[in-house]
């Protein structure tokens, strides 16, 4: 009898335990529904000697079923002020990307396959700043409940499907109550720990959770980059028109 009860309990625990995919879906739902957003961001790059370099930028995003559209405008340093990057993200093919160079009045189509490249010389790669659709990963293995700070988190593994990804795997910590990502460890292609990102300062804006700060530490070069949202507006009323090539020259 005892044996039957124990097996039943184990089965029940297994039945009610969430899979990595389910947690990823819930996590995606928690930060979705912003429709469109307009943000002002500051990027603080800290080298191994502790010296800081600050970059300012404006960003706009349009939520789309088949991949978000993003427009990024660089406000500093002064020599690149007005440079814009327009990205049409796709789940099943390479992203479309255009770069506007104001000094030359030139719109350049660029290859959207550069996943591993550094974004503005920071510790963020293009892959890190692109939207993290659930379908971009597989979620093998068991999910464990672990303490993370004063919270309890689901700790799981996700593996990028894209063979051009710079990562062999990512370990995620997701808040059990809110399903907001708290921490991600990124492992390079040689399976060594490369970077750790700490997500913090979450705010609920118009019913949508938005991250306020990401602290990305590179364990291999001892550099660090903080990405801070200075201003963030959701449901901003943007449409496809605000993400056409016309806006690059405006």
């Amino acid at each position: 009898m005892k044996k039957i009860v124990l097996v039943s309990c184990l089965l029940a625990a297994n039945l009610f335990a969430m899979s990595g995919l389910e947690i990823a879906k819930k996590s995606d739902v928690a930060v979705s529904g912003f429709e469109s957003s307009v943000s002002t961001m500051q990027m603080v790059m800290i080298n191994s000697a502790g010296q800081k370099t600050v970059r300012d930028m404006k960003g706009a995003t349009l939520e789309k079923e088949d991949g978000d559209k993003m427009l990024m405008e660089f406000l500093s340093p002064a020599d690149v002020k007005g440079t814009k990057l327009l990205t049409y993200q796709h789940v099943d093919k390479d992203d479309d990307q255009w770069l506007y160079l104001p000094a030359l009045k030139r719109i350049k189509r660029i290859s959207g396959r550069n996943k591993t490249g550094s974004f503005m010389g920071s510790e963020f790669s293009y892959e890190d700043i692109s939207s993290q659709e659930v379908e971009k990963y597989t979620y093998p293995g068991e999910v464990k409940e672990v303490p993370c700070g004063d919270k309890t988190c689901y700790k799981g593994v996700r593996i990028p499907k894209n063979r051009l990804s710079g990562y062999s795997k990512q370990i995620t910590w997701v808040d059990k109550d809110t399903f907001l990502v708290q921490k991600v460890e990124y492992y390079d292609r040689k399976k060594s720990l490369l970077k750790t990102a700490i997500f913090s300062d979450y705010k609920k804006i118009d019913g949508v959770w938005r991250v306020g700060k990401i602290d990305m530490k590179n364990h291999q070069n001892d550099k660090e980059t903080l990405l801070i949202w200075v201003d963030d507006k959701v449901k901003a009323g943007l449409t496809d028109k605000h993400f056409s090539k016309r806006v690059l020259k405006q």
Partner: protein
């Protein structure tokens, strides 16, 4: 146009409302080895750009001034309204009136399709990004993935050159910059349709021009004993495209020209190339490999030759490499060689630019010209150092 638009646009800019501005101030030094007799071996100049923009409801007024002060060359001391225009944005279209600069093209070394603005030969005849603003009225209609523009360029700009002691003045006789035009400088019409593919990563543009060719020729004026430049009327079809496949960007440009001038043959100018990038070739640094080829074909050999017209990219092959450090200073090295296959000339160049203290950009450039026996140019090494403060 200039007399009417200038005061109106300047007054609009200075009226109430917030003005956004940016610009740079810089110094540049050029050194040339083996200069011919009578030519300076070095130059030193101050230069600056200021841009001011004000949004006025659905419209915007923009001013962009460029100024140069050359220590030796008094011809090369000037201020140019690169841009001074009013643009009104409608729901699906825009109207621009004034002076501005456009870029048309896809290739890296030379843009056959970039014909809208006259090249600023007084600044630097071999830097094709240095252009004069053009007075025009332009209406653009925007569609989902394409746009149609109708542009009337109202004035043909005179092209000035550096003084006779400058290495960049390769004219054999004194020059009078007052341009001679067929049909007395009438406006040039451009109709441009451009767009992007939805399923395939391609951008394309087609332009029809009924107007003055960007290519000009010189004639000798017996009365003054000086050379003068002629602008002639053409019907021109231009096109350029960029296609991305995986890590390679394929590029092409073409111009097919029917000339109205009895001295200039109809011609076809083609260019094609590719840029393949090896991402993360050394840690986070990228290496881009460049290959471009240019061909100029004239249809009547009894008229001006490419040499007489000063066509530089008539049968040229360019090989290059771009090394991007992807660091906080945006450092980059560009190296390459241009082979003129007809003249057996070679130009090697190496350029390094980086950002210092966040607000300064520095550029060091070296070029070696290895000319043929019959070349207009002499063998020379050219070193350029430039530092600019951005605000």
């Amino acid at each position: 146009m200039k007399q009417i638009a200038l005061p109106f646009l300047l007054a609009s800019l200075l009226g109430a409302g917030e003005i956004a501005y940016k610009g740079n101030l810089g110094i540049e030094y050029d050194y040339f080895s083996d200069t011919p007799p009578g030519k300076r071996s070095d130059t030193f100049a101050f230069r600056g750009d200021v841009e001011a923009k004000k949004e006025t409801g659905d419209g915007e007024v923009k001013l962009h001034l460029k100024g140069i002060w050359d220590k030796e060359d008094s011809e090369r001391r000037y201020v140019d309204f690169q841009e001074l225009y009013y643009k009104h944005n409608f729901e699906n279209s825009e109207l621009l009136i004034g002076r501005n600069i456009l870029f048309w093209g896809a290739l890296e070394v030379y843009n056959i399709a970039d014909v809208f603005n006259t090249k600023d030969t007084l600044d630097d005849p071999f830097d094709y990004d240095r252009k004069l603003g053009a007075w025009n009225v332009a209406w653009t209609r925007f569609f989902d993935n394409s746009e149609l523009a109708v542009i009337l360029r109202l004035h043909e700009e005179d092209q000035k050159f550096q003084d006779e002691e400058s290495v960049f003045n390769f004219l054999p006789l004194p020059y009078d910059s007052d341009l001679i035009t067929e049909y007395d400088r009438r406006p040039s019409l451009f109709v441009k349709y451009s767009g992007s593919g939805e399923e395939v990563q391609i951008d394309y543009a087609l332009v029809y021009e009924a107007g003055y060719d960007d290519q000009r020729y010189f004639t000798y004026d017996r009365k003054t004993g000086k050379l003068r430049q002629h602008a002639y009327w053409v019907n021109k079809l231009l096109g350029y495209t960029t296609y991305v496949h995986e890590d390679t960007i394929y590029k092409a440009e073409a111009a097919w020209v029917v000339s109205d001038d009895t001295k200039v043959s109809d011609y076809l100018h083609l260019g094609a190339g590719l840029e393949h990038t090896l991402y993360g070739v050394w840690e986070k640094r990228d290496l881009g490999l460049l290959l471009e080829y240019y061909r100029y074909e004239q249809f009547n050999d009894t008229k001006f030759s490419t040499r007489e017209l000063g066509v530089l990219f008539q049968n040229d092959l360019y090989l290059g490499a771009r090394f991007s450090f992807n660091d906080t200073a945006s450092s980059e090295i560009l190296a390459g060689v241009d082979f003129d296959l007809d003249e057996s000339e070679k130009i090697y160049f190496l350029k390094y630019d980086t950002r210092v203290l966040d607000q300064f950009k520095t550029e060091v450039q070296y070029q070696h010209l290895s000319p043929s026996k019959n070349s207009l140019f002499s063998r020379t090494d050219h070193l350029k150092v430039a530092v600019s403060y951005y605000f």
